[in-house]
């Protein structure tokens, strides 16, 4: 999903002044891209809803600090990504799972011929986040490394492993890459 959402400056100014109608207009404008990004990064729909809510609470609180550098979606998107990654880290800490450990769902095997959306769901939380941020949202490995508190090479290797796994789950290519 590509977001090319232009928001009038006057709407942002009104939101910065605390105008409730303007804040709601911003919410309505960005509700779906925010939820979609959170949901693609997170396995659980309720977690994605919570990130949607937390993101807009943060937007409401910090909109005065937005100076118009870059486009508004870029500013909001970073809040979403940060909050979603915080949840991934929290869940991994609770599950004592090292960040980036590769695993699939039980019973899932290479060559399962899933469609892409289902195959994507079978990636680890970290791999899914890296793939979505890099391949769909256009983040660089440097930016992803910074968001995750990891190195550039971590982001690159996660992306490569994720693509290799997707390829396997989709049952693609039997020749090269074996």
């Amino acid at each position: 999903m590509t977001v090319a959402l232009a928001v009038p400056d006057v709407l942002v100014a009104r939101a910065q002044a605390g105008d409730e109608a303007a804040l709601e207009a911003l919410y309505r404008a960005f509700e779906t891209p925010v939820y979609n990004l959170a949901r693609r990064m997170l396995r659980n729909a309720e977690d994605a809803e919570d990130v949607l809510q937390e993101t807009f609470l943060e937007v409401v609180k910090s909109i005065r600090d937005y100076r118009g550098e870059g486009y508004l979606w870029g500013w909001i998107r970073r809040i979403v990504a940060t909050k979603a990654l915080m949840r991934i880290r929290r869940d991994q800490l609770r599950a004592t799972e090292p960040l980036g450990e590769e695993h699939g769902k039980p019973g899932m095997h290479v060559g399962a011929n899933l469609d892409l959306e289902r195959a994507f769901e079978h990636l680890t939380d970290t791999s899914r986040a890296v793939v979505w941020l890099h391949d769909v949202e256009g983040y660089t490995h440097e930016e992803i490394g910074e968001l995750m508190g990891k190195s550039v090479s971590f982001s690159k290797s996660q992306l490569a492993r994720a693509h290799a796994r997707l390829r396997g789950l989709l049952g693609e290519g039997e020749g090269a890459q074996a």
Binding site: T32, L116, V136, H163, A176
Partner: protein
Amino acid sequence: MMHCTMDDLLALRAGEASIWARRHVEDCAACRAELDAVYQRVAQLKALPALRSPRDRWPIVRDAVRVAQTRRRRTWGVWSLAAAAALAGVLLVPRFGDSGTLHAELSRAKDQSATLEDQLQNYDVDGRVLSGRTAAHVAELEDRIAVIDGDLARQAAPKAQAQDAELVKLWQQRVDLMRQLVNVRSTRARYVGL
């Protein structure tokens, strides 16, 4: 024959591949097909339909906006109240001199109120998820506190004929509401495990 790894293919896509990988992919049909598959996967990911939130979270965000606005008003109210309380202290000291009990009760209520304000700061983290009902309850308590603050400020005005007992009663009501507010916040903080 050695083929490109996934790292090589992604590097090719990013224009950062080694000379070997660039030359190899020109000659190897299998690796070209793999590279095409990477491009197609990414294009398909970008084309996935947008997922929409099943529930509208705006009412919760809106309640939080209203709470924040009330809090800002109350913060200003507290500053004016502090100034008014200082003035009231000057005006009331002679009268309280005859009424030690009321003076002691007033001091105690003010101390309790200040302590509860401090406690509230520990739980009062903006951005924490509140249910709609909790946010509405918090807003109601804060509104009632704001009303009492307004009454206290009026009582402390230079021309007001403040009754000592009335002041004590208002401060005690404020303490009671603050206590309820702290309870709501602390319960919520325990619930979310923070």
